[in-house]
Amino acid sequence: MNHVAAHHPGFLSPTGVEITFVLVGLATLGAALLTVTTRQLVHAALWLVVALGGLAVEYLLLTAEFIAWVQVLIYVGSVVVLLLFGLMLTKAPIGRSPDADSENRWVALGVAAAAAVTLVWVVVDAFRSTWVDLHGVVQGSSHATGESLFRHWVLPFEALSVLLLAALVGAIVLSRRDGESAGAGSTSGTGKEKS
């Protein structure tokens, strides 16, 4: 690793990458902690943006280029927009929301710690002998991702489309019932007797 770094004095040597990785990781962790502890709903959503963006940078540093930008596009660009849209639709106040605290802090902390331990243990155990090769070919480029996806993982990919369809139909069914019970004028008369 060292001699490769000596050959290519880029901006980020592998050790530089590692240092950046740890720093960004700490920032991400801090943002995540703020997300769950802040009493202001929209601030929580914005700290979530920071945390998700930090994760994207981490992916980038692990040469998982494609996943990193998926993270930005899907999580920052659409899931957070979905959250903010929801918060704005339901009148998120400016300032503290007193009811943002569910008073279950210690239980939540326990659950979070347990989940973290389980995840770390599982991941470490599963990838014990696998290392990300930072100075070789980029392992997470979109080409590599596509190749492995469409060579080895076609069936899960197709199953995913069914899952997405189910989610779509579920969302529509739920929202339709809501819309009709709220007395909104609807074009279909089928839902009337349900509510």
Binding site: L82, G146, L168, I172, G179
Partner: protein, 122 residues
């Protein structure tokens, strides 16, 4: 190492951008007057004092658009790695059909939403 070089340049652009904004705001602070009055700090509602709160009844059913969007965005993501490989040797028509099946399911979802009138606002 090209990879890290490339993204460190991108990172540097972001830093340059942050610097630009910081400098702009800092110099703005030096240039502009600060004369706050109570009227200035009021919420602007075309000159009259603000009435009520910044909230009106909004139908939550519009929220279904955001679900639709997230689901379709997840779908669209898969097109990109697919686009880079499907015409390569060893993939070809089979991969094309696989993607058509995938998109087909989603198109069914879109048709369902259309049929249910979700895509109309009134």
């Amino acid at each position: 190492m090209d990879y890290f070089h490339g993204y460190s340049v991108v990172g540097l652009v972001a830093v340059v951008g942050v610097l630009f904004v910081t400098v702009a705001f800092a110099s703005g602070r030096l240039l502009r007057p600060v004369v706050p009055t109570r009227e200035k700090m009021l919420t602007y509602e075309c000159g009259v004092d603000p009435v009520g709160e910044g909230w009106a009844h909004t139908q939550i059913k519009y929220y279904v658009y955001s679900f639709l969007y997230v689901i379709f965005a997840v779908d669209a993501i898969f097109l990109f790695p697919w686009a880079t490989v499907f015409a390569a040797p060893g993939f070809g028509a089979t991969t094309l059909v696989e993607m058509f099946v995938f998109i087909g399911f989603l198109a069914v979802g879109l048709l369902y939403a259309w049929k249910k009138g979700v895509l109309e606002w009134t």
